[in-house]
């Protein structure tokens, strides 16, 4: 079996993204949906039920008082926040353990990077028209999911990949593609397809390291930009370092200035302090 076949056959065995999430998302898209209907769907997933309460009480979501029951949580947090809470708790399971080893990421760092990108993407929606904040948050959480599954293959070829990055001055993903036949962004796109996420989300994950991402669909541009800033801040960055390409002139179409970027990074740092509890899911 060729290397790439080996990698792709691994994807066949990726556990499904919790089905309950899709059901809940559908329900939440209808503003008439009440807490009771939601609770009925959520209660079957014990991990999500436990996490919803835990996350609702995290300082990040800033609820006025402590929630103690699922019903109460659903009433208090509101539809939009609840979507984020559910997708956060459902995604966390895929980032447990030494998932970023191949990239020399300490345990928990890939998740921290993902949460940071999600939070930043949601905030940057104000600069990039036409993206739903909930979608931005979800794609932010999942944009590097390919790393989780490519990690062991990266570990096998680590030396050659690093040599290529240093010698050819190429980006880490270019070296992944060259040596493994597929890079983590491509693999992530395939996984999101398998999980039946909408096409625009698959595409944003697939293209998040495309140097011209800022000229593409708004969601793709938003995720590539958020990822680039989180990488610049050094949050959850491994051996790949800052060796990623993104042509910044694409920002002009959104009217985003370097000062805007600085301010977003400064704000993110504070948000991250509030989101601490989310990292320990």
């Amino acid at each position: 079996m060729s290397r790439i076949d080996e990698i792709l056959s691994l994807v066949k065995h990726v556990q499904p993204f919790p089905k309950v999430v899709q059901r809940v998302m559908e329900l939440l898209d209808d503003p008439e949906t009440d807490a009771k209907a939601l609770a009925e769907v959520i209660q079957y997933d014990q991990v999500i039920t436990a996490n919803v309460l835990k996350i609702c009480n995290a300082a990040y979501f800033g609820l006025p008082r402590k929630v103690s029951s699922l019903n109460e949580a659903l009433v208090i947090v509101g539809h939009d926040t609840l979507k984020d809470v559910i997708v956060t708790s459902s995604s966390a399971r895929f980032y447990k353990g030494a998932v970023g080893d191949g990239y020399k990421l300490e345990q928990g760092e890939l998740w921290r990077h993902s949460v940071a990108t999600a939070i930043l993407a949601k905030h940057m929606v104000k600069y990039i028209q036409g993206v739903d904040p909930g979608v931005a948050y979800t794609v932010g959480l999942l944009h590097d999911i390919g790393k989780r599954f490519l990690s062991t293959f990266v570990a096998d070829d680590f030396k050659q990949i690093m040599i290529k990055v240093v010698k050819d001055q190429c980006s880490f993903v270019e070296a992944e593609k060259e040596l493994l036949g597929i890079d983590h962004a491509e693999l992530g796109g395939i996984i999101l397809k398998k999980w039946e996420f909408p096409e625009e989300m698959q595409l944003a994950v697939l293209q998040h390291h495309d140097p011209d991402a800022l000229k593409k669909e708004p969601l793709t541009a938003l995720i590539s930009l958020s990822n680039a800033l989180v990488i610049s801040m050094g949050i959850g960055v491994g051996a790949d370092g800052l060796a990623t390409k993104l042509q910044g002139e694409g920002l002009r179409r959104f009217g985003i200035t370097p000062a805007n970027l600085d301010l977003c990074m400064a704000n993110l740092l504070e948000e991250m302090e509030r989101a601490q509890e989310l990292f320990h899911l």
Binding site: G234, L242, A243, P258
Partner: protein
Amino acid sequence: MKIVVGISDMKVSNQPDDVLITYSLGSCIGVVLWDPVAKVGGLLHYMLPDSSLDKEKAQDKPFMFADSGIPLLFKETYKYGAVKNRLIVKVVGGSQIMDNAGIFNIGKRNHAVLRKMFWKNNIMIAKEDVGGTGNRTVSLEIGTGITRLKVSGRGEFEL
């Protein structure tokens, strides 16, 4: 004792057994100070060049910015008996992602402000490892002044 310096954070020590360390400097810059006589060391990890971006934040988190963080780092080492002209100054970090237009040149801007401030205040840099696309971790042994740098793609070495 290992003392971790986070993003937008600063630590100073005169305990010989202490090691100050900051992980994952991307575009951020780490400034390492050490006085070989007083055996005092300090480490700053700042993220952005200019505190005028947000005065309120600068008040709350002065170590986030070069212009507010660097003077505080020096002053804090003086409190422990360090003397300006004895201080050995090392500067690391300031990487940036690959962008031909230079829009994401946060690292370069971070470094430019530091150089300007040091030039104005007659501060010499003893060692520097700045720029590129590597991710850096730097540590300082207070007792010996040994500074270790780890850069992705280049391994770990003494600076």
